[in-house]
């Protein structure tokens, strides 16, 4: 560990290797050349960036749907009947024999936002509005789950960072990576086509027998189901790629327990992706067969079992929520260590906890189906669900222990890390009443569930994605961003998020069911809670718009980023910002662990950016890593 790092490759090698390509973002020619380059690239960095922008675009699309849902719920839908004077064609009131105006009932629908966009506000519009509402929340769910959250961190940040962090030149199968990207695009096209065709109202879970019988004769449902099927392949191929990359392409000297914990998280995610996704493939295939040919295995009218579909569906969909959260946790591992400038607490515990979460995630899917299953199965699944909380809690404790006595800097990544810890803990804790059979009977399919999964998925994964984006933005694009803008956006998102979703816990425990376009208002607080929630959702919108502005400004006019703005010790910070096309100009040598802040001075880091804390009393002097030249000497 006290090895004085010297440039191991002689200059002849650098010369012999040829020209320096410049960063991966450098255009290679005119517009046409650049477009073709990006369309046919097998560079993991470019593919990661394309995924990132696609995911963010889909996030705004799904978010727009969410805002429509919340706007609809601002007012309950009511039919008001008032008696008004009957008016004849001439405009004069019609009078009866005694001279009094004739009163007729005037029915008006109030509180319905969606139908008023398309209909004319009369009584029939309620049904129409409800149909549209169903389509919009399905759209929100399907887009967010399949096109945003599942690929978000692994495919974007994972693709970009994994090879850099282990010192590889690319992922194991670069062309397969490009294929994954195109499959993602292809699948999204199917979804968009389905949406343009009018959308689907089955809910993102496509429960039978409704999904097999609704909208008969139309192709919309089949397209949406096919879209999810195709996106599954993208997920599988990415997972395969990552597992082989981690097994085979680590830099010399980097053993399993020398890897950054981000890699452990992505690796566990990849395992789940490979094992779980094929099951949704066969499920959706059978669903399509059921819908097109009514083969009957999920149809009680033909002797089949609709709960079998639920088993098939949730066998994938539960592990996939861990595909969603594990990469988020992987990011937090990195940001919490770097921005508290402290060795992460319990490296091996976190590494094994990641694998443990991946393993236990396959045992608990029945907790989505407590009300459909036999009592024995419900009991067993409930007990196993409590088990999965253990490795998760280990991680949370370790992060908090990392923060303790660290040298914390309140920049945007750290603020988002703290937000993550707060929101994810709430989300995890509220999973407990849902995993407990007695309480779940009341809370199932209520807003409590909605609040819970938004806390873990959005309060978890999306906040971690924001943390990761702000943490690695300088590396990816070579530009710094406006820190004040980032913090403002983060605080707006945090406040808005809590206003939106904390109220929904109350809504749920008071009995508000999910996926309902309207609600009663007698003897409950539903309306005020819904209105609060809606206001909060618009605050979230403002927060994300601030982020969008900050990022766009950064790309256009941001300060040039140094190679290691935060003083990280993992290998990606040894590459340039943005990295060279081949990642590293020389093969990196690992001579210290990824979190050895006590022992090593981070390479490519400027002390005036982040002052280092003084070394602990009695600790040996820190080793200085000499700068490896980022450009070859000419």
């Amino acid at each position: 560990m006290s090895l004085d790092a010297q440039d191991p490759t002689p200059h002849t090698h650098a010369h012999g290797h040829g020209h320096h390509h410049g960063s991966y973002l450098t255009p290679k020619g005119g517009v046409g050349t650049v477009i073709w380059d990006w369309m046919t690239t097998i560079d993991h960095k470019k593919i990661g960036v394309m995924y990132l922008f696609a995911v963010l675009f889909m996030f705004f699309l799904g978010g727009a749907a969410a805002l429509a849902v919340r706007t609809e719920l601002f007012y309950p839908v009511r039919t008001e009947t008032t008696m008004v004077a009957k008016i004849s064609e001439t405009g004069a009131p019609v009078l009866d024999e005694s001279g009094k105006p004739v009163m007729v009932a005037n029915t008006k629908v109030t509180g319905q936002f969606l139908a008023n966009l398309t209909g004319n506000g009369d009584a029939q519009s309620i049904a129409e509005g409800n149909k549209i509402y169903n389509r919009i929340f399905t759209l929100h769910g399907a887009i967010m789950v399949f096109m945003v959250i599942v690929p978000s961190i692994p495919a974007s940040l994972g693709n970009f960072l994994l090879p850099l962090m282990i010192g590889a030149k690319d992922v194991a199968f670069p062309r397969l990576n490009l294929l994954s990207w195109y499959i993602y695009v292809f699948g999204s096209v199917f979804a968009v086509a389905s949406i343009f065709g009018g959308g689907v109202d089955t809910g993102w879970t496509f429960y039978t027998p409704y999904s097999t019988t609704t909208d008969a004769g139309h192709w919309r449902v089949v397209f949406m189901v096919l879209s999810a099927f195709i996106l599954g392949f993208s997920s599988i191929l990415t997972g395969m790629n990552f597992v082989v990359t981690v097994h085979k392409l680590r830099a010399p000297g980097m053993g399993w327990f020398d890897m950054p914990l981000f890699v452990w998280g992505i690796y566990s995610t990849a395992i789940i992706q490979v094992l779980a996704t094929p099951v949704i493939g066969i499920t959706l295939l059978l669903l399509t067969m059921e819908r097109l040919f009514r083969i009957g295995i999920f149809d009680p009218a033909l002797g089949g079992d609709p709960v079998l579909y639920q088993h098939f569906f949730w066998f994938y969909s539960h592990p996939v929520v861990y595909v969603m959260i594990l990469p988020g946790m992987a990011i937090i591992n990195e940001t919490v260590a770097v921005h508290s400038r402290k060795r992460i607490f319990g490296y091996r515990a976190i590494a094994f906890a990641s694998l443990g979460i991946a393993a236990v995630s396959f045992l608990v899917w029945g907790h989505h189906m407590f009300t459909s299953m036999s009592e024995l199965a419900s009991t067993v699944f409930s007990a196993l669900t409590f088990l999965v909380a253990i490795p998760t809690a280990v991680k949370v404790f370790n992060w908090i222990a990392t923060l303790y006595k660290g040298s914390i800097t309140f920049n945007t990544p750290m603020v988002y890390t703290l937000i993550f810890l707060f929101l994810f803990t709430i989300g995890g804790l509220t999973g407990l009443p849902l995993g407990t059979l007695a309480t779940d009977v009341h809370l199932h399919d209520s807003y409590f569930v909605v609040a819970h999964f938004h806390y873990v998925m959005m309060g978890g994964t999306i906040m971690a994605l924001m943390a990761g984006m702000h943490h690695w933005w300088p590396k990816m694009f070579g530009k710094m961003y406006n820190e004040a803008g980032g913090i403002t956006g983060a605080l707006l998102v945090f406040v808005g998020f809590n206003i939106t979703f904390f109220t929904q816990f109350f809504l749920g425990s008071q009995g508000m069911p999910r996926r309902y376009a309207s609600y009663p208002t007698v003897d409950n607080d539903f309306q005020i809670l819904h209105q609060t929630s809606t206001i909060g959702s618009f605050v979230i919108l403002v927060g994300f718009l601030v982020h969008l502005l900050v990022f766009v400004h950064s790309l256009i006019a941001g300060k040039k980023a140094p190679a290691n703005p935060w003083g990280g010790l993992t290998l990606e910070w040894q590459a340039d910002s943005p990295p060279d096309e081949h990642n590293f100009t020389h093969e990196p040598i690992v001579t210290h662990g990824p979190y050895d802040y006590d022992d090593v001075v981070p390479p490519h880091w400027d002390p005036k950016d982040w002052p280092m804390p003084p070394p602990l009393p009695g600790a040996p002097a820190r080793t200085t890593m000499a700068h490896a030249p980022s450009k070859p000497e000419i």
Binding site: P174, K248, A276, P278, G281, I295, G296, G303, G304
Partner: protein, 231 residues
């Protein structure tokens, strides 16, 4: 088990006349060709697990409905002709052998034999699909033994028999689709081998296509007794 020759033991030919397989250069992000080969195999085994898990859904539906409706399963299985199933099994086993033999041939630089083995494998696959379509699917379909709501066979006795047919058709059709995909993969390998792409130091493509084909055989090894041999 003998080991393969190193590139040093090749006869010293003129650069241009050296066969394609000996001039293979591994991807630049791998440290060596061995690493690449091992990595590819690892990746492909991961892919095979996804294929197995795809069929897991069918097997799960099969097992559960068999446990719940054993009468329908016995009746349905009884109306399948085990002779065709056994013939198909033998065809696939033989084709598995020829595929493994093809790998051996390329490992020992017997190009012609290797290609012949590949061809036999493809033809066996085609025979499998043909037997299935002509002697199994067509007669059953015309008799009315069809999945789910398409069921139209008047002489069934157990009310859950249409479910049996759904599971049967889904399982065997999905498998036949994989046979066809396997055939396409092997055909691609065959075409490449015509140019001398595969040999003792580079035969990854043949290996990978072989793995896929063996998986297809593996799935049939389980499907056959489960579908045809219940009593």
């Amino acid at each position: 088990m003998t080991t393969l020759p190193t590139s040093q033991s090749l006869p010293d030919l003129h650069e241009k006349k050296k066969p394609l397989w000996s001039r293979y250069v591994h991807g630049h992000h791998w440290r060596s060709q061995t690493e690449e080969f091992d990595g590819l195999k690892l990746g492909f085994w991961l892919f095979l697990t996804t294929e197995v898990l795809l069929f897991a859904g069918i097997f799960c539906a099969y097992c559960l409905f068999r446990a719940m409706y054993p009468g329908a399963w016995a009746e349905g299985s009884g109306s399948l002709n085990w002779q065709w199933g056994a013939l198909n099994t033998i065809v696939l086993l033989l084709s598995s052998y020829t595929m493994a033999a093809a790998i051996y041939c390329f490992q020992t630089d017997q190009q012609k034999r290797g290609r012949m083995n590949l061809l036999i494998t493809i033809i066996s696959g085609a025979a499998f699909v043909a037997i299935k379509l002509v002697f199994e699917y067509y007669p059953k379909w015309t008799m009315g033994k069809r999945p789910g709501s398409l069921f139209d066979y008047p002489f069934a006795t157990d009310p859950h028999v249409p479910l049996w047919w759904s599971v049967y058709y889904c399982g065997t059709a999905l498998h036949a689709l994989h046979v066809i995909i396997g055939m396409i993969l092997i055909a691609r390998v065959y075409v490449k081998s015509l140019k001398g792409q595969y040999g003792p130091t580079y035969y990854t493509g043949v290996e990978v296509a072989g793995l896929y084909w063996h998986l297809v055989d593996l799935i049939w090894i389980f499907l056959f007794p489960l579908l045809y041999l219940i009593h």
